[in-house]
């Protein structure tokens, strides 16, 4: 019956012919913009703005021109079919890419609802005009019913794989322009025959600034469409030159047409009463333009209705097609369930994605009024453009000297920043017009974030980024404390697993034994599957060690180009609480603090990490724990208590604090008192009500006064068997100025070292990761 498209087309194997000229591609942009928006929304937007609808169209032209410059720059540099979605993926943190696709799906589907409703209203108007409207159906429900019918028709059309392309598209576009041109010319003739009509434009902004902004927000969707030029980039002759040109030319054609349509619709109509024209147009809502044409245009209503019906149908066809393709692509990329990528054997169309998109179109058309549907689509497109404007700033910063531009935007980043402000303001302002639209938008986005967090990203990690090729786990896996050991060296496996077991046992925890099959960068990860057989003995040996320690364990084998990626992904997938990593005790590269893999794990995971020098004795007799502040003492000492050799009565854990030389005895006692107090509280591995006695736990608290803290600690390591030191994962400034101290101590220590890096608060970690993305090139 069906098949799942799992393999994207291999780039370069199938090339599209570059046969679209500047004229063709400009027509693509003009055709996409002069869709149903101008036919359906002119009447609706006249209500809030009054005659200032002309100004609203002009100002929308300004906002659109600024975003068009962004599209021209990025479209000329990265002329890939993905367009905005691809740039957002490149320029913003990974979840934005998912969200862009998710929002794009909704935006196109809701735009489809708008066009279906527009069609329904136009056809109901025709049927009523000819007395053909069914008497049983109330007038207000007829348009919605027809909207559902036409949506079903185009779901069927798209199922059969019919789409409007090539020269037919040009003819349809020219037809729409011609109808609007006749509308404008006849309207202007009427105005010039009756110059008194110009008085209808006073007062101009009847709704004030608020009205203009509302109309801007409502009609913004009529300016959306030029981005399709970029999506046709692979078929354009000389794309670096013609893509930016076509974008600017299509806007230069469309904006004056819209202003003139508004001018004639507002000026050439004679309502026959004292009612202002804008009110008359607003009363006729989506049929405003057709009613206006009836008054002054030869065969006006008929022509406009034909134009409106064709525009709404072609726009509905296009949006059904695009929303289906977006959801299909997300299914293929495993961002949505794979059923979205199922292709019908006979028609070769993604039928389940089509059913889902069609369902969304019909639901939105039936559920909310047309003005709210328009507002929801507008807000979604505004938010998409907002992301693209942010993406250009990041892409310019990161890749500018590596890309080949056909057009470069001036005044960067000031213009994108201004545009971000304008778009955000406009989007937020739409709340004032339609709170319902915003509720739907927010609901959809929250659903998207949750879907990404709990479904799409974990699947992408497990199946694409660092595929799991083996996962052996206990039959029942309740919520448990998990200690993970990435086993890099089978020789040190015993020590590492033994240490991990000491951490897991007090909390009845479980071990996660991770083996990473490293695949060279230029080799596909799938080729690493053969390595599984080679790794099998090491996997079995690790399980044996864990079994001997009478601890439950699960084994995971993952493939990755770099081990740290597999470690980070496993920490997130399996909600690991503690990671125990081995360390050779030296770094190879100057830019690394501990080692490349350990540095990256500390950077990208938020859980406790224990870095163990390979020769570290476990358990140990004399453990030294330097403490810089009471707050950081608890975890270090908790770990230290688990590593003290209990069978040796002489074993000691020395908590060592270095004070500045000028500290008074009173101050010293206060500081040590605070540390002692913090150590007497239950630690991570203790029951919450545990009473900790320093003496029973063999903890001694020592201090010294010294100007050079590091030297003082390093000297002390000569009398210890094991040094446990806390490592910082603070922000970059703190890490640069003071945070390297623990690493330097670790490197100069006379005894083996264990470094403990505590997890940070989730919100803080998220913020750090977010800002880190904009400071440096992403690695994940």
């Amino acid at each position: 019956m069906s098949q799942v498209a799992t393999q994207p087309t291999v780039r370069g194997e199938i090339g599209l012919a570059r046969n679209l000229s500047l004229f063709d591609v400009t027509m693509v942009g003009v055709g996409a913009m002069i869709g149903a928006g101008i036919f359906v929304l002119t009447g609706i937007a006249a209500g809030p703005a009054g005659p200032a609808l002309i100004l609203a169209f002009a100002l929308n032209g300004v906002v659109t021109f600024l975003t068009a410059m962004v599209y021209a720059e990025l479209g000329s540099a990265i002329p890939e079919a993905g367009g905005g979605y691809l740039w957002i993926k490149q320029g913003l943190p990974a979840w934005n890419g998912f969200l862009a696709g998710w929002m794009s799906w909704f935006a196109h589907a809701v735009a489809g609802s708008l066009y279906a409703l527009g069609f329904g209203a136009y056809l109901a108007f025709v049927l009523q005009g000819f007395g053909l409207a069914p008497s049983l159906v109330p007038e207000e429900h007829l348009a919605k019913m027809l909207a559902v019918v036409i949506a079903l028709v185009f779901i069927g059309v798209n199922f059969k794989g019919v789409s409007e392309t090539g020269k037919v598209g040009n003819i349809v576009t020219l037809g729409k322009i011609l109808i609007l041109a006749v509308f404008i010319v006849s309207g202007m003739a009427a105005i010039f025959r009756h110059p008194i009509y110009l008085e209808k434009f006073t007062p101009f902004a009847t709704g004030g600034i608020t009205g203009v902004l509302t109309a801007m927000g409502l009609t913004f969707i009529a300016f959306e469409g030029y981005e399709i030029i970029v999506q046709a980039g692979e078929e354009v002759k000389n794309p670096k030159r013609n893509i930016p040109r076509a974008i600017f030319l299509s806007l230069a054609i469309v904006v004056p047409i819209y202003m003139l349509v508004a001018f004639t619709a507002l000026g050439a109509v004679n309502p026959g009463t004292d009612q202002p024209t804008w009110q008359w147009l607003a009363e006729h809502a989506e049929l405003g333009l057709a009613e206006a044409a009836r008054q002054f245009m030869p065969f006006g209503a008929t022509l406009l209705l034909v134009g409106g019906l064709f525009s709404t149908m072609s726009a509905l066809n296009a949006t059904t097609f695009s929303s289906t393709r977006v959801s299909f692509a997300m299914g293929r990329d495993r961002d949505l369930p794979e059923m979205f990528a199922r292709i019908h054997e006979r028609t070769q169309t993604p039928y389940l994605a089509l059913v889902a998109s069609g369902g969304l179109i019909i639901f939105m058309a039936v559920a909310i009024p047309i003005a709210d549907v328009a507002a929801a689509a507008d807000v979604m497109f505004l938010l998409l453009f907002l992301q693209v404007n942010i993406a250009i700033i990041v892409i310019r910063k990161r890749y500018a000297d590596k890309l080949d531009y056909g057009f470069v935007m001036p005044f960067h980043p000031v213009l994108p920043a201004i545009n971000i402000g304008l778009i955000a303001f406009l989007a937020l302002f739409m709340f004032h017009f339609s709170a319902i639209a915003w509720f739907f938008v927010i609901g959809w986005m929250v659903a998207g974030v949750l879907l990404h967090r709990f479904y799409a990203f974990p699947r992408e990690r497990e199946e694409v980024l660092t595929p799991v090729v083996l996962h052996e786990k206990p039959a029942v896996q309740p919520e448990r404390f998990r200690v993970m050991v990435p086993i890099a060296n089978p020789k040190s496996a015993q020590t590492m697993i033994d240490l991990a077991a000491r951490l897991a046992r007090p909390l009845n925890g479980q071990l996660v034994l991770l083996h990473v099959g490293t695949v060279p960068p230029q080799t596909p990860l799938t080729s690493g599957r053969r390595a599984l057989e080679r790794m099998r003995p090491a996997v079995d040996k690790a399980v044996e060690i864990a079994d001997a320690l009478e601890l439950e364990s699960e084994s995971i084998v993952r493939l990755a180009h770099e081990p740290w990626r597999a470690i980070v992904d496993t920490v997130e997938d399996h909600e690991v609480n503690f990671v125990v990593m081995g360390w050779r005790g030296r770094t190879r590269a100057r830019e690394t603090m501990v080692g490349r893999n350990i540095d990256k794990v500390l950077k990208y995971t938020n859980c406790n990490v224990l870095v163990v020098q390979q020769r570290a004795p476990v358990p140990a007799k004399r453990i030294l724990v330097p403490v810089f502040e009471p707050r950081s003492a608890s975890l270090l000492v908790s770990v230290g208590r688990l590593l003290v050799n209990e069978s040796d009565a002489e074993s000691r854990l020395t908590v060592f604090h270095v004070l500045p030389p000028k500290v008074s005895d009173v101050q010293r006692d206060a500081r040590l008192g605070a540390i002692a107090e913090s150590l007497e509280k239950p630690g991570l591995f203790d029951p919450p009500d545990a009473q900790i006695s320093l003496e029973q736990e063999r903890i001694e608290l020592k201090s010294t006064k010294a100007a050079n803290v590091m030297r003082s600690i390093v000297t002390r390591t000569h009398d210890a068997d094991l040094l446990i030191v806390g490592s910082s994962r603070a922000n970059w400034l703190k890490r640069t100025v003071v945070g390297r101290k623990p690493y330097r101590i670790a490197r100069r220590s006379a005894c083996p070292v264990i470094m403990v890096s505590p997890e940070t608060h989730g919100v803080r970690f998220s913020m750090q990761t977010f800002f880190q993305f904009f400071r440096e090139e992403p690695e994940r």
Binding site: L198, T202, F204, P244, A252, D404, Y405
Partner: protein, 94 residues
């Protein structure tokens, strides 16, 4: 997504040219500013003209600003093309 993805897509410059190109807009900045100022001024005129002469003057000026900005942008694509032809003759044409 990272730089490798862009390289794989074949949209980056050859590696030996990385860092050697100055990314500079070919749009004539003073004229662009004049156009923007004209567009803003025309919008203000349209609003405060209250449907009379100044409103229509604003509308006409707005169209002039739009055409001017478009012309500047189109001209910039030609200049950018010439710059590309100078630095990368084999890539300047498709």
């Amino acid at each position: 997504m990272a730089l490798e993805d862009l390289e794989e897509a074949g949209v980056t410059l050859p590696r030996d040219q990385w860092g050697k190109r100055e990314v500079r807009s070919a749009v004539h900045k003073p004229l662009f500013l004049v156009d923007v100022a004209l567009a803003v001024a025309s919008a203000v005129l349209m609003y405060f003209g209250n449907g009379r002469f100044l409103t229509w003057l604003g509308a006409v000026l707005f169209i002039i600003a739009l055409v001017g900005t478009t012309a500047l942008a189109l001209h910039a694509t030609s200049i950018q093309g010439r710059r590309r032809a100078r630095t990368q003759p084999d890539k300047a044409r498709p």
